[in-house]
């Protein structure tokens, strides 16, 4: 079985026989990266949500120097490449802090920090979207700032935040492929290894792209279901 393709370039014509048997034969090996990819994504996302919630709230603080910390965090993390952050956390953080992290943990830390900056902006936008009258109503019945945030503002903000948060989850899932650079055996790393040993990169990377596509589509449709459920509650 095979698929023929004509690759034309530089005046030459190359014949390439696609042979997806290589995927079938190494199925188990390729799939073994899936767990790592999902683990890295889930942990980074969970960390990113916590960091983002804090950063988002900090950025809205009435005390300017506290708000500035959040602002600086977002500024740095959003304006440097994720790959650079990943490598920086892996190589520089241990030297600066003396903290020895294993490879996969530093990847998760880096992606969580990255994700946190974006989630922080989503949280901030969500909170700002809630009518100020809601805050005033809560304060006038004597609720504290924190109580108003937890019971009144965030429940309303979360509905607005849902769609962009799923977007962010999909982004992190795709960014998780970067961890292969540091040798973490995720989907991408397994694919690279296999490609160099079998000399079948086209089939293998096409298959990997398909895997990411399916994962991301599942993630997005999960969001649609959640959104519908929220809409019903209104």
């Amino acid at each position: 079985m095979g698929l023929r393709a004509r690759l034309e370039g530089l005046g030459e014509t190359l014949e390439y026989n696609f042979n997806f048997a290589v995927v079938q034969q190494n199925w188990g090996y390729l799939a073994s990266g899936l767990g790592t990819t999902l683990l890295v994504t889930a942990c980074s996302l969970a960390g990113g949500l916590v960091i983002g919630l804090i950063v988002g709230v900090i950025r809205l603080s009435r005390r300017p120097y506290i708000a500035a910390i959040g602002w600086a965090y977002v500024l740095v993390l959003r304006n440097t490449p994720a790959l650079v952050q990943l490598i920086w956390v892996y190589y520089c953080l241990p030297i600066l802090t003396g903290l020895e992290l294993n490879t996969i943990t530093s990847c998760i830390v880096a992606l969580a920090l990255h994700c946190g900056a974006y989630v922080g902006e989503i949280v901030r936008g969500g909170i700002l979207g809630v009518d100020i009258g809601q805050v005033e109503a809560g304060r006038t019945i004597g609720m504290s700032h924190f109580q108003v945030l937890r019971k009144i503002v965030l429940p309303q903000a979360i509905r607005r935040m849902l769609a962009p948060l799923v977007n962010e989850a999909v982004t992190i899932l795709k960014f998780s492929a970067l961890v292969s650079v540091l040798g973490v055996a995720d989907l991408m790393y397994q694919a690279q290894t296999l490609a160099t040993t079998t000399f079948r990169p086209l089939e293998i990377f096409t298959f990997v792209a398909l895997e990411y596509l399916i994962l991301c589509v599942i993630c997005s449709s999960f969001a649609t279901i959640l959104e519908r459920r929220f809409a019903k509650a209104d």
Binding site: E136, A137, T140, G142, D234
Partner: protein, 281 residues
């Protein structure tokens, strides 16, 4: 109790938004059980004065005492410093506030809206809070709407839930910021009726309103504000019957003509009736 402190005492209160001086050295004292209505053109500072009482707006200068307790302190230069959040929350819980746009929590049912304050601020157990909330909602005539979300209620019903929510904290003072001005004409009556009952029960109330008939009937004292100052004050018979100041006379002439001339009033009622007629075949 040797001497009863006024429920609200405002001294020398000033507030500017940018270069706009909204309040100019206002002095005001409201006794316990008194119903005070504030009238005046928009931009005259009535709402700001009301919001300064519970520090939703922070005044620049002056002093506000609620039930004898200051809501803030003056520093050496006489500038206003609000209380710490914690003390302020405690004081605010003694004042109820009703807003022009209701500000109900849309993600909670009517009864949950009313329960929230007692549960969060007073640590009332859920069951007790629920029965308290049901009692308050029944009092404002919403016994059949406990589990409705605000979006399913009319404006008048929403505003009554908002009143019940404020009352659930058993406040000593109720502040109303134009509570009927966003309501359809046919819904104004039910909210005013609820407020009238509250006044009869002896609640201290400060009300910013455009409903002159209501002010005339319910208020113990009417304040007329213009350009950030209390221009004239007195019992409603005096203010509406024989206003002393030129500004008051002008304002009342304009407002009452607007409220009483049949064409506008009737037209809006006609529209309301037609709308209702259109709904039910």
């Amino acid at each position: 109790m040797t001497r009863q402190a006024p429920m609200v005492c405002v001294r020398n209160l000033s507030k500017s938004f940018g270069t706009n001086r909204v309040l100019r050295s206002v002095e005001l004292s409201v006794a316990a059980g008194e119903v005070v209505c504030m009238i005046g053109a928009s931009g005259s500072g009535k709402t700001t004065l009301l919001r300064c009482m519970n520090l939703l707006t922070i005044p620049d200068l002056g002093e506000v005492l609620i039930d004898g307790e200051p809501v803030g302190q003056m520093d050496g230069k006489g500038r206003f410093r609000p209380l710490t959040d914690r003390d302020l929350d405690r004081l605010r819980a003694r004042m109820g506030m009703v807003f022009q746009r209701f500000n109900l929590f849309p993600h909670m049912t009517a009864v949950e809206n009313v329960m929230l304050g007692p549960m969060m601020v007073r640590n009332t157990p859920k069951i007790a809070a629920r029965s308290l909330a049901e009692e308050q909602l029944t009092k404002v005539g919403l016994a059949d709407k406990f589990d409705s979300y605000p979006s399913k209620l009319s404006g008048g019903q929403q505003q009554r839930v908002a009143i019940a929510r404020a009352l659930a904290m058993s406040p000593k003072l109720m502040l109303f910021d134009e509570p009927t001005s966003t309501l359809d004409p046919e819904l104004v009556g039910e909210v005013l009726e609820t407020m009238r009952q509250l006044a009869n029960d002896g609640m201290t109330m400060v009300i910013v309103t455009h409903e002159m008939d209501f002010a005339r009937e319910v208020a113990d004292r009417v304040l007329f504000l213009s350009d950030g100052q209390i221009v004239e004050e007195g019992p409603p018979t005096a203010i509406f019957g024989a206003p002393q100041q030129e500004k008051t006379r002008n304002f009342l002439r304009r407002t009452l003509r607007h409220q009483l001339t049949p064409p506008t009033r009737l037209r809006s009622l006609d529209v309301a009736n037609n709308r209702q007629a259109g709904k039910s075949p």
